[in-house]
Amino acid sequence: MAEKEEVKLLGIWASPFSRRIEMALKLKGIPYDYVEEILEHKSPLLLALNPIHKKVPVLVHNGKTILESQVILEYIDETWKQSPILPQDPYERSKARFLAKLVDEQIITAGFVSMARADEKGREALAEQTRELIMNLEKELVGKDFFGGKSVGFLDLVAGSMIPFCLERGWEGIGLKVITEEKFPEYSRWVKNLEKVEAVKDCIPPREKHVEHMNYMGERIRSA
């Protein structure tokens, strides 16, 4: 008798970290139950499943809890072998992991700080820092449709959920031009490719609502 797979994802609609999990699940055709969490009112379930960090996303698979978005992505890839997202070669894997770490540590920080700064000069300085970091991704995309090559991979999901479909919405809200097609032709081409992938497109937060939300987040950081 086949065991019924139970896959549950706790997430937040605006979180790039939970959106990337949805993209991965959709890419692999895995049905799942989604539980929407509220940042300011975390559910008892979330706090029970992730007592250390108290964050989304949380994946529950047949009763087992998996935490940390990049760890979840790797878990999904190892558990469901169709549409693989990590490269096979160890060196390529290490590069993908390195750049994913850059996105989730340095790029996100520089990006959010650029939005939180009230002064124009400060914003522009952070924007320039962010551009320098994103240039590492730009170089990686030369001659490729996606970071994963011909198809969407681990780094596409990490960088895609974070930069075009999160940080850029924040920059749009405050009228800060960080990425231009002129300076980032490969990146711009990659975003257009991403938008054509159903599993990605279906998991992008709605634009207007998202821009509004990012403005609110910026305000929160400024007033903290």
Partner: protein, 219 residues
């Protein structure tokens, strides 16, 4: 064709120690190159232009940066011997969670303990003990974090052990009193040749910290 493996490292770095241990565990011959972080070498700047940090693992001319990424790379590239990560996806996810926990939650407080004073130092000490207790709880009564075999989480954590002495002196506390099981675990790890070869003596670190503080301009 023989593999060429170079490690750019800095002897007191608990991160560099991870990669040393991993290479030794797999019996990989490597060229250890001590770096001067106050006068960074051309090879370091070339191989890690993004962060300009150690450790950098260079395998047949190709650089791999970030210590835990290196540990996984080593495990995947030289699969012989004991794998550092289990084969079960859920257990692998657990191990990676704790590796990430050590990086995000354990390292930060240590800088406050040896680098700060007064309230800041006290807060760092309190936080550090709390995080160690979480790790100890995860370890439980197992021989190693992964169970019977030495693996990823052990490798991620063991480098901190040679810093315990100086942290205890600076923070005025006893790690053994707070986390006896963790100390027992560390002593078990130290019996492994790979670990004994890769960690400097505690008193070397203890002597080094005041010099480091002077060099980076804190008294």
């Amino acid at each position: 064709m023989a593999d060429e493996v170079i490690l750019l490292d800095y002897w007191p770095s608990m991160f560099g120690m991870r990669t040393r241990v991993a290479l030794e565990e797999k019996n990989i011959k490597f060229d250890y190159r001590e770096q001067d972080l106050f006068n960074k070498s051309p090879i370091l700047l070339e191989m890690n232009p993004v962060h300009k940090k150690i450790p950098v693992l260079i395998h047949n001319g190709k650089p791999v940066c970030e210590s835990l990424i290196q540990v996984e790379y080593i495990d995947e590239t030289w699969p012989g011997g004991n794998p550092f990560l289990p084969s079960d996806p859920y257990q692998r996810a657990q191990a990676k969670f704790w590796g990430d926990f050590i990086d995000k939650k354990v390292y930060g407080p240590t800088r406050l303990i040896w680098g700060a004073k007064g309230e800041e130092q006290e807060a760092g000490t309190k936080e550090f003990i709390e995080m160690l207790k979480m790790l100890e709880s995860e370890l439980g009564d197992k021989t190693y974090f992964g169970g019977e075999t030495f693996g990823y989480v052990d490798i991620a954590m063991i480098g901190f052990y040679c810093w315990f002495d100086v942290l205890e002196k600076c923070g005025n506390f006893s790690i053994e009193a707070e986390c006896p099981k963790l100390i027992a675990w560390a002593k078990r790890c130290m019996k492994r040749e790979s670990v004994a070869k890769s960690l400097p003596d505690s008193d070397k670190i203890t002597k080094f910290v005041p010099e480091l503080k002077k060099k980076i301009g804190i008294e």
